[in-house]
Amino acid sequence: MITVLRPDYEQTAAPLSLTRRPLTLAGATIGIVSNGKANSRPFFDHLEELLRRHWHVADVVRRTKANYSAPAERELIDEAVRWAVMFAGVGD
């Protein structure tokens, strides 16, 4: 028998605690965070229009990440905590 050591990362990430889902979106502020890639603006334009029409939200805030290959910057995350729901995506 040969004894070998595992080469992979053995720790499990601590569970994320999620914020409570809102009970209603009427009158809420929704955030949309774009990665800024081609066609993201018209896509989110359509999304915003649908959210205003069907969800009767008070406001839709549009933001774009400074670097689509990195996590959102701290200032953006700090602002996002004030939104009821955030839309953010990955896709080219």
Partner: protein
């Protein structure tokens, strides 16, 4: 999330401590889609988002 990134998103959710985190999925790609295709993808996004936020959220009829 577009379909081409679903696997990666699921792995990142697990890596960050949220295995099974639900998200809306639309067809890839975005960059070369027509405006009508983008509009359709936005509709699908809103429909899935509504389902993901249930049962807490009720949409006004």
């Amino acid at each position: 999330m577009t379909t081409a990134f679903v696997d990666g998103a699921q792995l990142m959710a697990t890596a960050l401590g949220a295995p099974g985190y639900g998200f809306a999925v639309i067809d890839h790609p975005i960059a070369s889609a027509t405006d009508s295709e983008l509009a359709r993808k936005a509709e699908l996004t809103v429909t899935q988002a509504h389902q993901l936020l249930q049962p807490a959220v009720r949409r006004r009829p």
